[in-house]
């Protein structure tokens, strides 16, 4: 195991897991989402599984979703009960998103029979189903199986590519797969008319704000041929992660909301994909944030853009703290790690 993987693993060693009910999903809720040029409702279910297989071996530097995982095998019956409990609160949303804090297609999380049970139990008026998976579980056999189960519904698989830069994925994220793995999976999905959503990570640890922004832009350009939609995931500080370890020691700052705005503004000019951003923890110290005064206003604009793709929502956005953000972009590299946050300067 390499050093970054060992570091990720070491942080998971001694944390106490929360009491968790294997018959209840982690969470389910309804949200808005852009769909066919309109705004539609989406029902999100997060199933509680054994946990992401990659996480169980080492895991990614920013991911703390394992805090919701069981770490022990969850019986097929329990998993089915989770879904049954969740679907009781379904209120006719057009889209269903089925997430597991891991890979939906990973049979060590959800056996094929559970996957089939769930897909077969999707209410008939649902038009689109969205799941997530690492590329290694996207095989011809699985894809054909899904297509047979679902017939006419639109199916989308989200892949956490994070970045098109293999060096960053390996040495800053510890993602455990390559850009080529992603491309192979996408080609397969395209062949079977399955939609691809690509997750792009804004600001892995060890990157400056500028490097992070540039990397997101380049990734979006380089995935232009592969992604039907792009979901920008700005890093938030999750428990028991490398990111949290650094953040607590003042060696990491979540991205500025201005960086997200800058990315979204530019994105329309170099991709036709639908680009959205759901800012988890936005405006808090652990989430992407600005100065605290303008955060609400900027977050609203980001949400608005994610539904409408209309960059005029950013037009009248400004705040004094933009100068500090620009300083950060301009000077951070020359500070050699000293200034991870240009907002916080206490001599």
């Amino acid at each position: 195991m390499n050093e970054i993987a060992a570091f990720c693993q070491s942080l998971k060693k001694d944390f106490t897991r929360r009491e968790q009910n294997p018959r209840q999903p982690v969470h389910c809720w309804s949200e808005k989402e852009g769909f066919d040029g309109m705004v539609a409702d989406a029902y999100v279910i997060i199933l509680r599984t054994r946990g992401c297989s990659w996480m169980l071996s080492s895991g990614c530097t920013m991911c703390g979703y394992f805090n919701d995982s069981m770490f022990t095998r969850v019986s097929e019956e329990d998993l089915q009960a989770q879904f049954d409990n969740a679907i009781q609160h379904y209120k006719g949303e057009k889209i269903i998103k089925l997430f597991t804090s891991g890979s939906f297609l990973d049979s060590s999380e959800l056996s094929e029979s559970v996957q089939r049970y769930i897909l077969n139990s999707i209410p008939s008026n649902v038009e689109k189903i969205s799941v997530e998976s690492r590329p290694q579980y996207i095989t011809e056999e699985r894809v054909i199986g899904i297509k047979e189960t679902l017939s006419s519904k639109e199916f989308e698989i989200g892949i956490g590519l994070e970045t098109s830069n293999d060096l960053i994925r390996e040495h800053a994220i510890n993602k455990g797969f390559s850009f080529q793995d992603y491309v192979r999976a996408v080609m397969l999905l395209q062949k079977h008319q399955i939609k691809v959503k690509t997750y792009v990570l804004m600001k892995p640890p060890f990157l400056t704000e500028k490097e992070a922004l540039d990397d997101c832009i380049l990734t979006t350009k380089e995935t232009k041929r592969y992604a039907d939609s792009i979901s920008l995931n700005p890093t938030n500080v999750q428990h028991q992660t490398v990111v949290e370890y650094l953040w607590k020691r003042n060696q990491y700052r979540p991205p500025w909301l201005w960086s997200i705005v800058e990315y979204l503004k530019q994105s329309t000019s170099f991709t036709d994909a639908f680009v959205k951003c759901d800012v988890v923890g936005g405006g808090s110290r652990r989430g992407p944030h600005n100065c605290g005064i303008c955060d609400k206003k900027v977050l609203d604009a980001i949400t608005e853009f994610s539904l409408s793709q209309d960059k005029s929502t950013f037009q009248n956005l400004s705040c004094d703290c933009q100068e500090k953000w620009r300083d950060q972009l301009n000077l951070e590299t020359l500070s050699f790690g000293s200034f991870v946050d240009f907002l916080r300067w206490n001599p």
């Binding site: 390499n2 050093e3 060992a6 000077l331 020359l334 050699f336 790690g337 300067w345 001599p347």
Partner: protein, 610 residues
């Protein structure tokens, strides 16, 4: 990149750094020069991340391994991989993907990494990464910088990004840092804060603007000054302070400046205290034993100065009282130095000289911050040139220090009796544990009454002893000084069968008609002749071994030195040897470790040679 140290003051030094054809003086400030920030015209060296056209020397930082931007050629650093400082050490060490730069090393501020990242590393400049985070952890910070300096030696440069501002660069230079940058100026300006050497002030806290820099002069009202104007003020202050710091090094008074500057913040004051308390050896090795500048003790921190502690330790562990003295006479210090030249001590000495057997008496001066100064050491630094705020009031720290030193001193040096000719305030904290003290001072030590009692007591107490001849005592006095300067072994070798000629303080050590050495008021140390040095050769101390093919003329330069005794300090008298034969004697301009390491610079000023 070529670097040469020119002037030293403690761990701080003034040096010359040559980049291509430009030479700049250090310590200095890298002024940021980017698309958003223009370095001021008075900057000496720039730090940039863009391609620039300039006649000034600059360092251009390229893109890191994680950057999407294509790196241009000629960048000083590119494809470097910098992990945050607190990741496990093996992750730092695994960063082998990065291209090593021949002249610059980025070292994450983690002590465990120092040995591995500095070993077999020929780069000249060490950039401390995550410096501000380290700076907040006081003990770790001092520990890291001192360890780094010890590992990389004297020939290399330390650049501490982001940390230095006008309040701290004096201390940081004293700690051993060579390069700072203009980050503090930019950050402060962005936060409407004016930098001054004595503190940082928000613009609303400056009802009057105490500055005449071009920027302040033209507006004269802090509250209306904008970001750009404040930035210019801050640049000016940084530049002003770095010059002050260099001046202080050049004049040997950096410590005094540091003690003033650290008053501005408890954080800095703690750092200096930690350095003094825990890193005495680091400071002492770098502190000269002879100095022309007075030691100004106006703060509590001055009590912890390395030269003071060294003086006290040498008085207790090297110095031996003149052998034939039997009576200890404790005297107060005088403002004028050396003491003998003062009015009060002239009076004391007159009392002493009037008695029939004066040489049986040993004068020891009680003082703060040195503790006690035997008369024989009054010409040596720092006893010869210190100045302290005198109030007649002694605080508990001073009392405790004097008591413990005197206590240890009299255990090591035996006297039959003690005469206390000290002001009442000092009698109060000293007499209670001196065995049968003869107190001769009633009101003031120099009053007619006190002096009369002193004379009478001296006469009575010395009568019972056989008369000590002046020549014997002169010889013993010089030997006592030699013990302090060279240690007992060398002092015995030097002073065997010799006589003293000349009038104090200019005294010569003679063996028959051959001069062995001389005491001068200017140095307060014994300067040796070749004959004197020859006597010490076999003891293998204070030696500097030069290469066989090196011809000795005016000075010994570092490249000619094979090795040198690590106990040599700047100002020490040293023996220059070639193939185990004495070939010269002179004064050390570097300490022994630096002489062994250095490849440039004047190491020994030769007085006599073959």
């Amino acid at each position: 990149m070529n670097f040469r140290v020119c002037i030293r003051d403690g761990p701080a030094r003034i040096g010359h750094l040559t980049l291509d054809t430009n030479t700049i003086v250090t310590p200095n400030i890298f002024f940021l020069h980017t698309t958003r920030y223009n370095a001021p015209a008075f900057s000496d060296i720039l730090l940039t991340n863009k391609r620039i056209q300039t006649k000034k020397p600059y360092i251009q930082i390229g893109e890191s391994l994680f950057s999407s931007t294509k790196t241009q050629k000629n960048h000083c650093l590119h494809h470097y991989l910098l992990y945050a400082k607190d990741v496990p050490a093996d992750l730092h060490l695994s960063a082998s993907l990065q291209k090593k730069h021949p002249e610059i090393t980025i070292i994450p501020a983690k002590k465990e990494l120092i040995p591995k990242l500095t070993k077999n590393n020929d780069t000249k400049l060490f950039i401390v990464a995550y410096a501000t985070q380290l700076f907040m952890q006081q003990t770790d910070f001092v520990d890291f910088i001192t360890k780094l300096r010890e590992q990389i030696g004297y020939q290399k440069l330390i650049y501490l990004p982001c940390v230095g501002d006008p309040t701290s660069i004096a201390f940081l230079t004293y700690l051993g840092v060579d390069f700072f940058d203009s980050f503090s100026a930019c950050m402060a300006a962005r936060n409407e804060t004016f930098l001054f050497p004595n503190g940082l002030f928000r613009k609303n806290n400056l009802p009057e603007l105490p500055c005449s820099c071009p920027s302040c002069f033209s507006s004269n009202d802090a509250t209306v000054m904008n970001y750009k104007e404040i930035l210019q003020h801050n640049y000016f202050t940084l530049n002003h302070e770095i010059k002050q710091v260099r001046n202080a090094i050049a004049t040997g008074s950096l410590r005094e400046l540091v003690e003033t500057r650290v008053r501005s913040s408890p954080h800095l004051a703690s750092l200096l205290r930690i350095l003094d308390l825990r890193y005495y050896r680091y400071l002492e090795e770098r502190t000269p034993v002879v100095r022309k500048q007075p030691l100004i003790a106006t703060t509590k921190d001055a009590l912890a100065r390395p030269e003071i502690r060294r003086f006290q330790e040498r008085v207790l562990h090297r110095f031996e009282k003149p052998e034939s003295t039997k009576i200890l006479l404790l005297l107060p210090c005088s403002a004028k130095k050396p003491y003998s030249f003062s009015k009060s001590h002239t009076l004391f000495r007159e009392c002493l000289q009037r008695i029939t057997n004066p040489f049986v008496v040993h004068e020891v001066i009680i003082t703060s911050p040195l503790g006690l100064v035997p008369r024989e050491l009054e010409l040596t630094y720092p006893a010869s040139r210190y100045d302290i705020a005198v109030t007649g009031y002694w605080d508990d720290d001073e009392k405790k220090m004097i008591r413990s030193i005197l206590q240890e001193y009299v255990q090591r040096n035996h006297y039959d009796a003690t005469i206390v000719h000290l002001p009442v305030a000092m009698q109060d904290f000293l007499c209670d544990w001196i065995k049968d003290p003869y107190v001769t001072c009633k009101d003031s030590p120099t009053s007619t009454e006190s002096l009369a009692i002193l004379s009478k007591e001296l006469e009575e107490m010395t009568q019972c002893y056989p008369r000590i001849q002046p020549q014997q005592r002169y010889q013993e006095n010089i030997k006592s000084l030699a013990c302090y300067q060279l240690g007992f072994t060398l002092a015995t070798l030097l002073m065997d069968d010799c006589t003293i000629t000349g009038k104090y303080p200019y005294q010569k050590i003679m063996h028959k008609t051959t001069q062995l050495g001389m005491l001068t008021e200017e140095r307060g140390f014994l300067s040796l002749t070749m004959a004197g040095a020859q006597r010490l050769l076999d003891a293998k101390q204070y030696w500097v071994e030069i290469y066989d093919d090196f011809t000795l003329k005016g000075s010994v330069f570092a490249p000619g030195i094979q090795q040198a005794d690590a106990s040599i300090r700047i100002g020490d008298e040293v023996l220059v040897e070639k193939a185990n034969q004495l070939c010269g004697v002179g004064v050390a301009l570097m300490n022994g470790t630096e002489m062994s390491q250095a490849t440039q610079g004047e190491a020994v000023k030769i007085r006599h040679h073959l």
